[in-house]
Structures are given as C-alpha cells and as structure tokens.
C-alpha cells in the first residue's frame, strides 16, 4: 500500500499543528463557533447529539495491521473502546473530547493517517472496490488512481469552500460495481479504449440525500494523463455555478439537472480547453511511482481447492455456509478473499470494538500480508487468504464475532449511526437494524431469500444509502414520533436505481412485520434464480404495496 515520504508526512504534521492552534483559539474564544465550524469539519470533527464525532480517513479503504492497531488503541484511550466503519470506508469515533482531538490527530500521523477533508464542503475521501487488486476481471488496479486523486484533492486551494460536499468513487471492473459510482458526485469507471490505453468513463451528478439521482455520463473516455485537469474543470464549473442559496439544492447533481447534461458538458469542455495539456497533466513517471506501492505481495504458487478446504467443505455445514457467503474468488490460484462481517445481533452494523480491531489486525498479520480493507457495506476484508488456511481463519473469525455467514443477505445491512448518536437524525436506526437481526435469524431462510440489500438511514441525508437499498428504510419525524418510510427497488451497482416509496410510514413495531410481508410477496412471485430486485422489477411495486398495507386497510 501507499507509504508516505517526507513530503506527505510534513503535510499531515503541519495540518495537525494548524488544527491544534485553531482548537486553542476556539477554546479561548478567539475563533467564533461559526468560524470554527467549517475548519473543524475539514478535519472530520462534528459536534453531535451527545459528544463530538471524529471521522478518520481511511483512503479508499486500505489499512495496514499497524494502522488498525493504532485505531484500536486510540478508540480505547480517547473513546469508549469501539469505532464505527462508515459506508465511505472511514472510521468514526463517537465519544472523543474536543480538546483531545489535536492529540488524536497527532497520534494518527505516526501511522500515516489523518482526518483531512472527511467532512465539510470540500472533496472527501475517494472510495473504491474493496476487492481492488485481487480480482480477476479488473481492468487495472484502481488504487494508484485513488491515491493520485487523494493527493490532488488534499488541501486543494481552490476547492475547499464548495457549495456542498463532493464525493468521488472509482471502479475498475466492468462486470460489477461495489463502489456505487453512479450515486457519487463524480463516478470514475476505469476502462481501456480500442488502442489499449487506460482512461476513465466519467459519470457526474449522482448522489443520495434529499434528492436522490443516478449520475449521467459526461465523457465516455478521458485519457488517464488528463484526469486531473478534467476533474479541475468539472469542479471549477461547479464551484462558480452551483447553487449556494439553499443547502438542499447545492450538490452538483442539482446543477447538472438544471442545465441538462449537454449544457453542463459544454461548460466543462470550455473550461477544460484552457487546462488540458498544462502542468497538471500526469506524466507516466507518476503512474509508475504510484503503481509501485501496489505491487503484488509475495504470493505462493498454489492450486485451487486444496484437500484441507474440500474436506472441511464436505464435513461442516457451518464452514461451508461461511465459505459460500463470506469468501470471494481471488485472481491467484489457491487464494481467496475473506470478508470479516461486522453484522451480528447486538452490535450496530459497522461497529467494531477495540478488541475486535486488534483481532482483525492479528488475522491480517497471520493470514493476509498484514493488510485489510474496509468495505462500502461496512465490513472488513482480508484480501489474500490462502485456501488451505481458510478453516483457521474461519475458526478465529467465529471467536472474534466476525463470521456471521450472511454477507450480501437481508441482515448484512448498511446502517447509519442514527438518532442514538447523530444530531441530524429524525429517528434511531440501530434499533431497527437490531430488530431485523433478531427476527431474521434463521440462516436457511436467509439463504433461500438470497441477495438482498437492506439499507437504513435515520434521516433524509441518507448516510445509510436507503435510496439504493433493494429495501430502504428511512427514519422520519411524524409529530414528534419516530416513524419509518419504506422504499423498495433501489440498487447501487451497475444497474443502479433509486427505490420507490411504498406508501405511508410505519411505526417501529411494524417494521419487521412489513419486511416479512415483502419477503412473502417475493417468495410467492419469484421464478427460479430471480433475486428480490429482479422480481420487483418484473412485477412492479403494486403487489408489495397491497400486501404491506393489507392489514391497515
């Protein structure tokens, strides 16, 4: 993975010193609340319902075991011994003290980490596929490009005070999209043109929040050398022309929609004419330098399906289930990608205790070249596990509470922290997730239901990505009471779509009954091999809607 040189280190060190001074001046009343707000946000610091929340950047989800141990240590000493992995591959601490934050940031720099631009109206952490670099059908490894974007966006002097936050995601496979690039401000699809040159299809104006939209293609192919000048052109147009009068209409998607993609493209092209080919054009030497950090680890020469694996698969239903759901095909024979799930009853989705973080770091050292990834679905990934060591990993993962064999199933939910923590939330989301976990605990039934994305957000800001869940649950405030609106038919992959609202919202105690009803409609209507989303797309919303409201009527 990427290693800082003296320049990278100097920048994060200077940032900590700057933030320490800003915090000191704020606490001395030299900096007003209003002035400190955007400054602290650009260091990932929110003031939440009960305490500040610090969002630590995990660039494109890559973590070394040493970094994860540091996060465990920080969450133990400065917080309540746990952290929350977010959908954008970052880690949130829910209970730090404001005056401790400069020290936390300083400790992070010791392991080449920071909280730069994890919030605020600036360019945020760039995200990508959690299987980057280890899957067979990848065009190229997206991580060097993510690191390029990270450096370009870090302390970009022109784009620190945009109309609204700005999120970029990169995908490098054509068959799938685990990074949800179509619902980002800019989505980059790495591709090769007919001449075999690497470039990007550029999608713009996707996003969730109050006005969810699937992005549109602004360019079919931007050569990789031109990536940064093209991004500069898009964001320069947005910075000048995006709406600033209403924060709910300030994302780039609103500008793209208002102008139409043709006109927006014309404006970007008119800007790009002046930038293309200038200093920010990326030389081959930089691609080579960045790629050198992501070279393959020392893989052994192995074959698929060693005896240790096949015999256990034959003899253990539990292992077999876990292997089927929680592991994924690796590009190298004899290896497998393992997901350590952070989804089990009694634990908020995406939460990990300090002990669990340390355990995951140990597993990475022991079985996966000392590296991990954080996934968009709020799980941890060991990318390079030998197949003859899968049983050992499974045993250890079970012990640490990482082996709930439900990856991709109904209970592998995406969930925001909700009203238990967040000052913006209209309703709690974690108790809803827990209720669903407790109710749908029969693995055979979950397996029969197959792949279903269920996403929960506690408010319209949609941090839990409810719009793109096959089933989405949104917390709403109804005369001071917490209610939940349910939508169905959303998707975040290659076939991204925004879900449709089923109808009037439900009380908390009705949620699991409604989910059960939706499952029944699916099971009664599906054909062989049809996933929930396929059945929905074929039969439409009506049968689901009728069944969900049958009792009330």
């Amino acid at each position: 993975m990427y290693q800082y040189d003296a320049i990278d280190q100097q920048l994060v060190d200077e940032r900590v010193a700057q933030f320490r001074d800003q915090t000191r001046r704020y606490l001395n009343d030299e900096l007003s609340e209003q002035e400190f707000l955007p400054l602290r946000l650009q260091n990932g610091l929110y003031i939440q319902r009960y305490a500040p929340m610090l969002r630590i950047a995990i660039p494109y989800g890559m973590l070394s075991s040493e970094q994860l141990r540091k996060l465990a240590d920080i969450s133990r000493r400065y917080d309540r011994s746990y952290g929350h992995f977010s959908t954008r591959q970052n880690l949130q601490l829910n209970w730090p003290k404001l005056e401790d934050v400069p020290d936390i940031l300083q400790e992070l720099t010791q392991v080449q980490m920071h909280a730069v631009q994890t919030s605020g109206n600036c360019i945020r952490n760039t995200t990508t596929d959690q299987y980057a670099g280890v899957i067979a059908d990848e065009i190229v490894d997206p991580r060097p490009y993510c690191e390029l974007i990270r450096q370009w966006s870090t302390f970009h002097p022109e784009f620190a005070f945009l109309p609204r936050k700005f999120k970029i995601a990169v995908n490098a496979t054509e068959s799938s999209d685990r990074a949800a690039i179509q619902v980002h401000d800019i989505g980059l699809q790495i591709k090769k043109n007919d001449a075999g040159e690497i470039g990007f299809k550029v999608i713009v104006g996707g996003g969730l929040g109050r006005t969810p939209m699937v992005g549109v293609t602004i360019s079919e192919f931007i050569p990789r050398a031109d990536l940064l000048t093209y991004l500069d052109a898009i964001i320069r147009v947005y910075n000048q022309q995006g709406r600033r009068d209403n924060k709910y209409k300030a994302r780039i998607k609103i500008l793209v929609k208002a102008l139409g993609i043709e006109e927006f493209r014309n404006r970007v092209e008119a800007e790009w004419v002046h930038l293309r080919g200038k200093e920010s054009t990326i030389p081959m030497s930089e691609f080579d330098r960045l790629s050198s950090f992501f070279s393959e680890p020392a893989y052994e020469s192995l074959t698929n399906n060693p005896a240790e694996l096949t015999s256990k698969l034959a003899n253990s239903a539990g292992f077999s289930r876990w292997h089927e759901r929680n592991t994924f095909e690796h590009k190298k024979p004899g290896y497998r990608i393992v997901t350590l799930t952070l989804k089990k009853p009694g634990q908020a989705p995406g939460d990990a205790t300090s002990d669990q973080m340390e355990k995951a770091a140990d597993l990475a050292d022991q079985f996966s070249f000392g590296e991990l990834r954080v996934s968009h679905e709020q799980n941890l990934v060991l990318a390079d596990v030998r197949q003859d060591q899968l049983v050992a990993v499974w045993e250890a993962a079970k012990e640490a509470g990482f082996a709930t064999p439900t990856l991709g199933l109904l209970t592998d939910m995406i969930c925001c922290p909700g009203g238990d923590f967040c000052a913006l939330a209209n309703a709690k989301s974690i108790p809803i997730a827990d209720q669903i976990q407790q109710t749908f605990d029969n693995l055979d039934y979950l397996y029969d239901l197959g792949n279903i994305d269920l996403n929960i957000s506690g408010c319209m800001n949609a941090c839990g990505h409810h719009h793109v869940g096959n089933i989405g649950i949104l917390g709403v405030d109804k005369k001071g009471q917490e209610f939940y609106q349910i939508s169905i038919g959303g998707a975040s992959g290659n076939d991204a779509s925004i879900g449709k609202i089923l109808g009037p919202s439900f009380a908390q105690e009705d949620i699991t009954r409604v989910i059960q009803t939706l499952m029944d409609v699916y099971v009664n209507n599906r054909t062989d091999e049809e996933r929930f989303i396929d059945t929905y797309r074929r039969v439409g919303i009506t049968p689901f809607k009728e069944a969900a409201y049958a009792k009330a009527n």
Partner: protein
C-alpha cells in the same frame, strides 16, 4: 488611515472600496465591475474594480486588466468559495499582474488557500486583529497541487 495586509505586511489602505454603484468614481476608488463595464468610456481613471460573488470573470476577457492597480474580489460569506476560482482565473487565464484584494467576510484562517490562488492583499472587516491575522499569513510549506505561486504539481517536483 485604515490598514490592510498587503504582500505580507500591514500597510496603509490607499484605496476606497466603493460598494455603492451611484458613488462618484475617482482614481482612489475600487468601483463595482458592472459599473466600470457599463461606464468605461466615460468613467475616467479608477484604482480598480471589484467582482462580486456570482459575477465571474468572463466579462473581463477582452479588457486590458493591467490598467488597474487593484482588482477586488468580494466574499459575501467566508464559506462562499467562488472568489477562489475568480482569483485563479484572473492570474492564470487573464494574465493580471496587479494587486488582487480580498474584500468582505473572509477570515484569517483562509489566508493559506487565498495566497495560493493569487490573492496578495487582504482588506479584513474591522473586527479582525491584523497582527493576529498576520501570524496565519502563510501556506503549508509544500503542496500536492500546482497553484498560482508554483504551477507545477508535486509530481513534477518530487
């Protein structure tokens, strides 16, 4: 005489920022860009013009900007970042060499970024202590991107 920060020092403010487009222009006035464009044949000598957020720099494309001693850029709120792009366009695209002055509600903590996009003078609101602001008058010692001061990104210098 009112003070400002210019080229890294506290200095006398020799010009008047005219926010009222009805006011009579003079050779010490910084007049609204729209006023100057409308009256340029008759307005006579001015110190410079100022650009409001939302106006952009496009209307200046065919103007000889180096006739102005100063071009002001107004920040209606410090979180309104349009002026960062305007300054950069004035320097990099329109070739303006004179003073670019930040006006309005920007704050000292933004100085690092303001310097990098081409501002060299800062007319703070009256409640800002200029000595304290001067302490923040610096960028980080290095940067990944190219900017007005150093157009080459780090990858050309590494």
């Amino acid at each position: 005489m009112p003070k400002l920060i210019k080229n890294g020092d506290i200095a006398d403010n020799l010009y008047t920022w005219q926010q009222d487009s009805e006011a009579a222009a003079s050779d010490t006035a910084i007049v609204p860009m729209s006023k100057w464009l409308a009256e340029k044949e008759s307005i006579g000598p001015v110190a410079g013009i100022w650009i409001d957020a939302g106006e952009g720099t496009e209307a200046l494309t065919d103007v000889d900007l180096n006739q102005f001693a100063v071009i002001g850029i107004h920040f209606p709120a410090f979180v309104d970042g349009r002026g960062f792009s305007y300054a950069r366009l004035l320097r990099e695209r329109l070739g303006y060499k004179g003073e670019i002055r930040a006006l309005g509600n920007f704050i000292p903590d933004q100085l690092g970024y303001l310097l990098r996009v081409g501002f060299n003078s800062f007319q703070f609101n009256e409640d800002v202590n200029l000595e304290k602001a001067l302490v923040l008058h610096k960028s980080f010692s290095t940067a990944y991107q190219g900017d007005v001061i150093e157009p080459r990104p780090m990858f050309l210098r590494r």
